[in-house]
Symmetry: D2
Subunit: 337 residues, 4 copies
Amino acid sequence: MLVVMRQDAGEEEVRGVIRAVEARGYKAHPIPGAQRTAIGITGNKGALEAPVFESLPGVLEVIPVTHAYKLVSREVKAESSEVAVGNVRIGGGTLVVAAGPCAVETHEQTLTIARAVKAAGAHLLRGGAFKPRTSPYSFQGLGEEGLKILAAAREETGLPVVTEAVDERALDLVEEYADAIQIGARNMQNFSLLKRAGKAKKPVILKRGISATLEELLMSAEYILSEGNYAVVLCERGVRTFSDFSRNTLDLAVVPAVKGLSHLPILVDPSHGTGRRDKVAPLSRAAAAVGADGLLVEVHHDPNRALSDGPQSITPDMFEALMGELRQIAPVIGRTL
Amino acid sequence: MLVVMRQDAGEEEVRGVIRAVEARGYKAHPIPGAQRTAIGITGNKGALEAPVFESLPGVLEVIPVTHAYKLVSREVKAESSEVAVGNVRIGGGTLVVAAGPCAVETHEQTLTIARAVKAAGAHLLRGGAFKPRTSPYSFQGLGEEGLKILAAAREETGLPVVTEAVDERALDLVEEYADAIQIGARNMQNFSLLKRAGKAKKPVILKRGISATLEELLMSAEYILSEGNYAVVLCERGVRTFSDFSRNTLDLAVVPAVKGLSHLPILVDPSHGTGRRDKVAPLSRAAAAVGADGLLVEVHHDPNRALSDGPQSITPDMFEALMGELRQIAPVIGRTL
Amino acid sequence: MLVVMRQDAGEEEVRGVIRAVEARGYKAHPIPGAQRTAIGITGNKGALEAPVFESLPGVLEVIPVTHAYKLVSREVKAESSEVAVGNVRIGGGTLVVAAGPCAVETHEQTLTIARAVKAAGAHLLRGGAFKPRTSPYSFQGLGEEGLKILAAAREETGLPVVTEAVDERALDLVEEYADAIQIGARNMQNFSLLKRAGKAKKPVILKRGISATLEELLMSAEYILSEGNYAVVLCERGVRTFSDFSRNTLDLAVVPAVKGLSHLPILVDPSHGTGRRDKVAPLSRAAAAVGADGLLVEVHHDPNRALSDGPQSITPDMFEALMGELRQIAPVIGRTL
Amino acid sequence: MLVVMRQDAGEEEVRGVIRAVEARGYKAHPIPGAQRTAIGITGNKGALEAPVFESLPGVLEVIPVTHAYKLVSREVKAESSEVAVGNVRIGGGTLVVAAGPCAVETHEQTLTIARAVKAAGAHLLRGGAFKPRTSPYSFQGLGEEGLKILAAAREETGLPVVTEAVDERALDLVEEYADAIQIGARNMQNFSLLKRAGKAKKPVILKRGISATLEELLMSAEYILSEGNYAVVLCERGVRTFSDFSRNTLDLAVVPAVKGLSHLPILVDPSHGTGRRDKVAPLSRAAAAVGADGLLVEVHHDPNRALSDGPQSITPDMFEALMGELRQIAPVIGRTL
């Protein structure tokens, strides 16, 4: 942490800051400059505590330095982590593709799509049984019935299942039926749910909130790891900006940023990230090329009749063509598909 | 809903859209223009369903028209609602000020602050017993112990108590001890929690998420009303932007916007909205002047030692001065303090 | 400037940074911490040069400390500046209101509006003769003819005139005819135009760009002062965010932020800041209450026929009512109207 | 354009809107719905005129439908345009890579880099002779001297030259010396400069402003085309968001969005788009994979000593490795490198 003094701050004010630092048991390192003095602080407990000094007399600003996350940090664990979802490993040499419908609607719909994505080479089946919806009047998913359908689809296709838990009750069920528990963007800072996920026996796919910083995303992952569950995969799904030609703005630079700071794998969801069918394949290619560990893609055999997010779902034919493209891009970043 | 066709869309494509509209039981109203055709749709179920038509051949874009919220809408209920928190009415002729510490730390700290804000003229006591914190290693609040302290402070000062519920377990307790249940920004789209709040016997103060649109805020309120709890107060507490001299950007235009679309009262929280002590009073004045129904202000008698959000807390002296300013501004918008 | 090393950075890497610092003639101040080392740098030339060190081996991040602006800084000049526009002083005890049409359309239109705003108590007449328009096919202003109309309106009403210069040719003319030169948001970083404005003999009103940081705004003002023109007034007119119920998001916290960092006065433009007539008066009140030195308000006697920005113009009646409200708010912040 | 009435709007208010539409010579198409009436308008002149109706009694909102750009639209010209820069064609089967230093510093520096990027397979040489800088105290480029150095580098390497014009005087010179005129992000809405570029005899590379919508970018291109210069290439270089791990957020979905709406080619600048050396290669790969027509990459043989933007410049070795990766990705989207 660095406390920057105003140019007109006097010696007494500098001493005041030093006393405040030392009163908390930390060490102060004054750095006198030509224009102003700065005071480095060591021994403190992390970035979030920093602002305390901001209101002392003579202080211009306080700059946090150390980051508060620990277990997720690459500084703590240098080698990249691999996370197993069923028999599929995310974070290793395979570009992992999870595909399936936005929402589980019927047994037939789910099986039709599961077979199609399996045939095209998908590694995981995704599909929502619990749907967080902006409106209380929208379809909210089939619940446990949907989980049973997903389990049946896994039974037939062999694809491990990824599905979202919207609250602790849902998480109990998802943990029982599925192979990975997805925490959605809206719940990225639902800390009670994160703590529950940290006690789960299944891996967790944690989506970035639509306006979460990287620090916040990593801190939310830290909640899960700090409860004992180290099997966490991050997922970029677009952030909210003024840009209006896509539903969200896919922030692909987060992938190399995560790789620098954390050992956790990271997926990209180009379906929510763009919200438009015609942009899913281009952004999927981009996500593979930028170095993501995998993709989460919505596929529907009849998207115009889908109960949820039809406009961003691609058809099985489009998915198959996309898989062909991804197979060519994967080797460029040292992966196979 | 309006479907806009491409300039080069042929008659067959226009007919295709009309058939798709009618197949869903809606009515199509073609509007032929000089450059292109648009097709109005009536009878549909709301904005969120709109994108289904976007991928039909020949369609340039689909524009949602009707809003999906109902119970919160001023179109449904023209007169402004008043919500009672204990014996204090929000949304009427009084500019209501809720003040208190960010977090309840000790009995003495809370009572000291409660007495001070009471003396300065505050109407409600605010204070957090359950704290949602970015880091798992930060102070997370005293829990039920904190609620008991708040109740004791109410006992002594007569101020009704507002406090946050971070999950359903906390909500059970908050409902028992407090006079109003606050749902924080991070939980604005925690739909399970909203539904639970909709069954509560106490009024709910719903904070806007840091990147929530007005539509989303109103839809989240709709979740609560649709479960039977009509005592909902909205609260603006800043949105996340690139702007870096305040922690969030307080979006005060939301106040007249809410007044136009909804009958619900709306508060402003200048403490979280700015994150900086020196900006709390200016933005509090601005919030009163823009027409907010009240304020939520963090006050701490020793902010540099506060366990949470010290830098954005003002001192009792600053609060008293602020109340004096607000007393002069309130009449301009037809209110008293 | 502070260079933060990675936890795993070795002594040699720390020495490498120190050598790089010293090679540039600066001084290095190593701060060894429990987890990592940071290195303070003094003697460097400012924030913008900082990133050079970011790519040295072992460096985690580089944090700029000193700000590069000088002449605009309150650290350099502690007392607030007043800027005279004709016989009106901005930045002193008067809440200055500039009002008038978005665009000068005709002699009659401008005179009608000028008389109305004068009667209601406005101090300055605003109106555009050169209009920056998103579309090449929109009305671009009357040019010099418009400036003559504004001069005629000043002649009759006595109101000094503020009008925008969109390029250097326009600035030559505006300097000749008007009392203050407005630089619009789109030109805030048109550095050639800023330099020309710095040589002008008239005061400059510099609007914040729709996504400019405060640092950038102050640096753009610095361009003008550094050429010798110290008569600069800043103006907040809304920033671009995801928020969709107003055309822009008025960022009122910039007013106390500017007051803290700079001695320059600052106005607020609630017309462009909201883009909606029904929000102009509420946000004008808020701007006065937050402590702005004045307002820039669009008024049109027949806004539905205005050639430019009709929807955000208020009528003379609405303006008169607003002036009444501002008269009540001004004393709260120690001003008169 | 669609005018949406309030639910409680009466017949007289609907008739009022219809009269207002017809008074402007347009045609009104009322669409009575179960909840409210909407009124389609045809014959009007474009989106920007739309808001005029918003303030009529009974109107809830006005929704623009047609877009105001014409010459840049794919609806007007269905086939994709190719733009020749010297002997290099942008927008055809080649993924075009422009590379070079951020700023031209010396003859030797520029020639060293030009030879290196030529050897690695770059098609165009980029380099700034006129630099728009946030601070008046930063290095602002060598001016005409820099243009002469670029011309000498072209002479030796055969690479056509792309360089920025920051104002009209600079544009005169750039037009004389260079093969393509770059308009920077800060000048995207400098309409006087755009008009001048529209009269130039050289192709124009127009960068997207840091908070420009796609509509605004296309309208700015329309300015250039409407003056007679059809050789325009767009360029995405990142938008400003809250996201803080890269200098800007590269908005790659703009590439398929532009391809849908316009016939103009589009490049991506991953150097400004990320601002960090370690993210340039990943985002370059992503830009190629998303379907961009080419890249603008900053390369410097000694980036830690660069006078401008060193931290985002990659070395010749990194550039050569990147070109190898791009050669593998280009065929996936039907291009060669």
